[in-house]
């Protein structure tokens, strides 16, 4: 059985399992959408109570948040449940079982723990982007579309890499259940225009840890506000990918069973 066929079987099995508790599944979908709508909702509240962010209108900020919700949704769909499952396996001493899996533990966990309730969140992100496109009357050029895809792919790579690094840390140190929260909170920086931050924080967000790839650069390119190609951010995202791969391999190499 090829890896893709195995992954497809795992997805079907996963869907069947989630459908056992249909009401819970539907509630999870609804809650995820509600939670992610909190930020666009806050934006609308800010603009209904004040002039908002200087130099940006409400639709432009919603475009930022649409891209952010899309990238978070994709990352959570692939790895959202993996982190929880990994924590459980380590605590119960069952990770050893996965280490002998021929497809590799990360691929196996990714395929079996695909978070289907995140699909509507991805659609919510796409919906907000489409509404913002219409409200702003945007018709990006072919180059802008290509750059948009590149930035979104790099943003997704960075978020997935950070999740893998976080999981690698969990394997090594076990009792750090809340490390993922930090990544999630830090990534919130990406959903607002980078120019609202102080100079040093801007340097981090657009360069060293480029959360700006999640929304700021994608929105800037379709709004025609991208001044220079963000080489540093794209290279940093690729480096995060390499770092994630190395730290995952290194953590698995040093893993010793904790439970049993």
């Amino acid at each position: 059985m090829g890896k893709l066929a195995m992954a497809w079987s795992a997805v079907k099995l996963n869907l069947a399992m989630q459908m056992i508790y249909r009401l819970d599944f539907i509630l999870n979908v609804f809650v995820m959408m509600l939670f992610n709508f909190t930020f666009p909702f806050l934006t609308l509240l800010i603009y209904s109570n004040s002039p908002g962010f200087p130099g940006w209108n409400a639709s432009q900020i919603l475009l930022f948040q649409g891209f952010a919700i899309l990238v978070w949704g994709l990352e959570q769909m692939f790895l959202g449940n993996v982190s929880w499952e990994l924590n459980r396996l380590i605590r119960e001493g069952q990770l050893d079982r996965l280490l002998v899996n021929p497809s590799g533990p990360l691929f196996y966990l990714g395929a079996t723990q695909l978070s289907l309730e995140m699909i509507p969140q991805v659609l919510l992100g796409v919906g907000i982007i489409i509404i913002a496109f219409f409200k702003l009357g945007l018709f990006p050029s072919l180059l802008a579309w290509l750059l948009l895809l590149l930035f979104l792919a790099c943003g997704l790579l960075m978020m997935i890499s950070l999740s893998i690094i976080q999981m690698a840390m969990v394997i090594r140190f076990v009792q750090i259940r809340r490390i993922g929260e930090l990544t999630r909170i830090a990534s919130l920086l990406g959903q607002y225009p980078a120019n609202i931050y102080s100079k040093w924080l801007q340097a981090i967000v657009v360069g060293a840890v480029p959360f700006a790839l999640i929304a700021f650069f994608p929105a800037s390119v379709v709004l025609g506000k991208l001044e220079n190609f963000p080489y540093t951010a794209v290279i940093a995202a690729a480096l995060f990918g390499v770092l994630a791969w190395l730290s995952w391999r290194s953590s698995l190499g040093k893993y010793t069973s904790a439970g049993g």
Binding site: I26, L27, S50, P51, E181, I185, I196
Partner: protein, 262 residues
């Protein structure tokens, strides 16, 4: 209930919590990160206006700081614990014990917050005090502020019990827990002050207990003492109402109790 049993349960819970010191210490990074993001967002918004929904920039930052610290203070995972007990069937054993299951859950929640005050709330308040200079409550308002915090903890515990008791009907309750998690947070003002909401939504929130969990306490330092008194009165009324709801649900649960797991 014997006082020593309370202390024993609390001590056990504190020992268990201290095993996850890193989790508590993570708050020392996560909470300032949330406050800093809010700082930049509101700083940009206030760069062109002096007042947003009745808040100055300093008032808004005070609100953000207090709402975050209150969140830590009132936290509990009672609904999850109750759900686990139902799913595993452990509740059957708990019912045979001379101690009511709610007492042990309350002791665990309260003692966990004692650790949280030491490891999270106080260090974070000192940090926020020097960095963001929030208005601190003083005099009678300070007294009502502390009373109100404790009542908010009790109120949140009762709300969690209600969510947890629903697991007797649904068995799997995560979706419902997440739904209440988000509703509690939005309508208690964790993400933004309720003054930002349209008038009709503010009117609706006045008829719900959630604003007594965070919003009304977080604005106490910048409001007159009469507002603090009404907050405490409102909290007591809601605690009485929710205690009746819990008692009613518990009675219904015991009537139809069948062990789900175990």
């Amino acid at each position: 209930m014997n006082q020593s049993k309370w202390f024993l349960l609390g001590e056990l819970s504190i020992k268990r919590d201290l095993m996850y010191r890193a989790d508590f210490l993570m708050s020392l990074i996560v909470t300032p990160a949330i406050i800093f993001i809010n700082y930049f967002v509101w700083k940009a918004v206030f760069s062109t206006v002096d007042n947003v929904a009745g808040f100055t920039f300093a008032g808004m930052m005070g609100y953000v700081v207090y709402s975050q610290l209150i969140s830590i203070f009132i936290f509990n995972n009672t609904s999850s614990q109750l759900q686990q007990k139902v799913q595993s069937g452990d509740l059957a054993q708990d019912l045979l014990k001379p101690l009511h299951p709610f007492y042990s859950l309350f002791a665990a929640a309260a003692s966990s917050r004692i650790v949280a005050v030491g490891l999270e709330v106080l260090p974070l308040f000192v940090f926020a005090y020097f960095v963001f200079h929030p208005v601190t409550p003083y005099g009678f308002v300070a007294v009502f502020f502390v009373i109100s915090l404790i009542l908010a903890f009790v109120l949140n515990f009762l709300l969690s019990l209600i969510v947890g008791l629903v697991s007797f009907w649904t068995i799997k309750v995560e979706g419902f827990q997440w739904l209440t998690w988000i509703l509690f947070r939005v309508f208690s003002g964790e993400f933004f002050p309720l003054n930002l909401l349209p008038q009709w939504a503010q009117a609706v929130s006045h008829f719900m207990p959630f604003e007594y969990l965070r919003y009304r306490i977080a604005i106490m330092p910048i409001n007159p003492v009469s507002s603090a008194i009404w907050t405490v009165i409102g909290q007591i009324i809601w605690i009485v109402i929710l205690a009746f709801v819990v008692a009613f649900l518990w009675k219904s649960v015991l009537k139809r109790f069948t062990i789900a797991g175990g």
